[in-house]
């Protein structure tokens, strides 16, 4: 029932979008006569048929990417939470680390990769670190906001019990930050897929990113395959987002948005 209620609109959205896409693609090709029309926006049916034609490969590579993304995501999310907790513990730590955390986000993988590799000297590990690096920031910021915006009287209650700092975190700040954490995770999860794909471009043998790049490089005859990989990537993003939403419902069911409406409007 719940699934039906949520899934149907999504399906309609996806279907609507695909129809629009097909229409635009047709118009681009036959009305506007745009150069490289099919590279700009290929026919959906062509892409989908490629998707099925190479379903096996795409599935395999998609799974590889998803696995990499999951590892990077877990690492990044953990790092983000840790950083947020540290910064919320002490204003000084925040002032010390924050500008640098922001600055660190400006280092592209191209500059980062040699350093990371130079430090850990293991390809697999450095890839994981890099994909974690891509995902930690949204988690950290959202978590920090959650930790910070705890209701004052709820804090005073803890204070009145002279609760130890860890208890304040464990029993109050962390649960109160869970909604924020999840919006961070929902941003980070698809981002982890992006991260995994980027990391795959650094000499990996497998993954959606690898096929994506090669198809681009080998030219327009592979347009449909390239777009298929995009669809797979997008699908992985949707799946990871959906997974996070599901987990949120299970882990933090107390939130107002999840309360049964009880006939209310």
């Amino acid at each position: 029932m719940l699934v039906k209620g949520r899934l149907l609109p999504l399906l309609v959205w996806v279907a609507g979008l695909l129809i629009l896409w097909e229409g635009l693609s047709w118009a681009l090709l036959n009305v506007a006569h745009a150069p490289l029309a099919q590279s700009k926006l290929p026919y959906v049916h062509e892409v989908v048929s490629t998707l099925f034609q190479y379903g096996g490969t795409l599935l395999k590579e998609g799974a590889a990417t998803f696995g990499n993304a999951a590892i990077g995501f877990l690492l990044g999310a953990a790092a983000g939470v840790l950083l947020a907790v540290l910064m919320s513990v002490s204003k000084t730590i925040e002032q010390l680390t924050f500008p640098y955390a922001v600055a660190s986000q400006m280092i592209p993988i191209l500059g980062l990769a040699p350093i990371i590799y130079g430090i850990v000297r293991d390809e697999q590990v450095s890839r994981i670190i890099i994909s974690g690096y891509i995902t930690f920031f949204p988690v950290a910021l959202n978590m920090l906001r959650g930790l910070r915006s705890v209701d004052l009287s709820a804090l005073e209650l803890m204070h009145s019990y002279a609760a130890k700092p860890w208890a304040v975190y464990w029993k109050l700040r962390l649960p109160a930050a869970v909604p924020g954490l999840f919006s961070g995770l929902k941003i980070a999860a698809p981002l982890a897929v992006t991260g995994a794909i980027l990391v795959e471009l650094m000499g990996a043998q497998h993954g959606i990113g690898v096929i994506m790049l090669r198809n681009l490089y080998y030219g327009p005859s592979h347009t449909y395959m390239f777009w298929s990989t995009i669809l797979v990537g997008a699908f992985l993003g949707m799946a990871s987002y959906g997974l996070m939403s599901l987990i949120e419902r299970l882990v933090a069911p107390w939130q107002p948005e999840f309360r049964p409406k009880g006939g209310s409007r």
């Binding site: 959205w13 280092i107 130890k164 997008a234």
Partner: protein, 302 residues
């Protein structure tokens, strides 16, 4: 910074901000009993010293960091080579040699980032509005932007290049695409996670949807929106830079990738340094705006 068991006490006042009410117990420096009569001017004194520390501390840490870096301490610890991580002095020199070029490229990249970020955040916000106003049918759009978020820049770049050419436009489009999701997801959360009674109040006035959004939903989503803006401020810079890797003939990203590929690491790193400075400034501007816009937030009281 009076003697104060910060660890036990620091959790009461979540933010040592200026403004708001002062005398909540906790992390704030407690007036020593002897100074009780003079204590009323205590807060003022602290708020004057705080900003100085706020700037001084990270700067000091930065200087220390730079010194360790220059003295190759990191290189020794991690067994790094100068061609993996050039020294600050070399970066500084490269920066000096190419200053005007670097500055104009910084401006170029920053404008891509800012424009794209504004467009992406606006679109994301609109999506959140739609998803909140019509949850059943609008909710799907959130999942779709999340999907967009999973398409890497490597793939976006050629598409956007085809659509918008190799100029400013294609990077703005890339940045727009990469910043939309964070705003949509966060703003949606902010607009949905509302005290049910506050909503009931609006319903009792039969306030139209637009008014509910204007007076309640948008206001209470602001902390979430600003978090998204902060995420996007950084994401947009890196998005513009990486976007420039592939098709641009200008900008920090172009210069960076070129320099690193021809082993001019110091020049490459001066691009990174400028990008970092621009990114941090952009971030700080957003943070400043946040302070102006949400003075009332619980985290800013006490």
């Amino acid at each position: 910074m009076e003697g104060n068991t910060a660890s036990e006490v620091s959790f009461v006042s979540p933010h040592g901000q200026e403004g708001g009410t002062r005398p909540t117990a906790g992390a704030e420096a407690k007036p020593a009993p002897a100074s009780a009569p003079a204590s009323s001017n205590k807060p003022r004194r602290r708020s004057r010293t705080a900003p100085v520390l706020r700037i001084l501390l990270p700067v000091l840490a930065g200087v220390l960091f730079l010194a360790l870096w220059e003295l190759q301490v990191f290189h020794k610890i991690f067994d790094l080579k100068k061609y993996q991580l050039p020294l600050p002095s070399a970066i500084w020199e490269a920066m000096g040699d190419n200053m005007s070029l670097l500055l104009s490229y910084t401006g170029y990249t920053l404008s891509e980032a800012v424009l794209g970020m504004l467009a992406g955040s606006l679109l994301g916000f609109i999506i959140a509005l739609v998803a909140t106003a019509w949850p059943r049918w609008g909710g799907g759009s959130l999942t779709l932007v999340a999907a967009l978020n999973a398409v890497p820049i490597v793939a976006l770049a050629p598409i956007m290049n085809l659509w918008f050419g190799d100029g400013l436009g294609s990077r703005i489009a890339i940045v727009t695409a990469t910043t939309m999701a964070a705003m949509a997801i966060n703003a949606y959360k902010g607009m949905a996670a509302i005290d049910p009674l506050a909503l009931d109040l609006m319903h009792s006035y039969a306030a139209p949807k637009s008014a509910v959004f204007r007076h309640l939903r948008i206001k209470s989503s602001l902390p979430y929106v600003f978090t998204a803006l902060k995420i996007n401020a950084t994401a947009s810079m890196i998005g513009a830079i990486v976007g420039e890797f592939f098709f641009s003939s200008r900008g920090l990203g172009y210069l960076l990738s070129n320099s690193i590929k021809v082993a001019k690491m110091p020049l490459g790193w001066s691009c990174i340094v400028l990008a970092a400075i621009a990114g941090v400034v952009f971030y700080l501007v957003v943070e400043r705006l946040e302070k102006v816009f949400i003075r009332w937030h619980p985290s800013r009281r006490a």
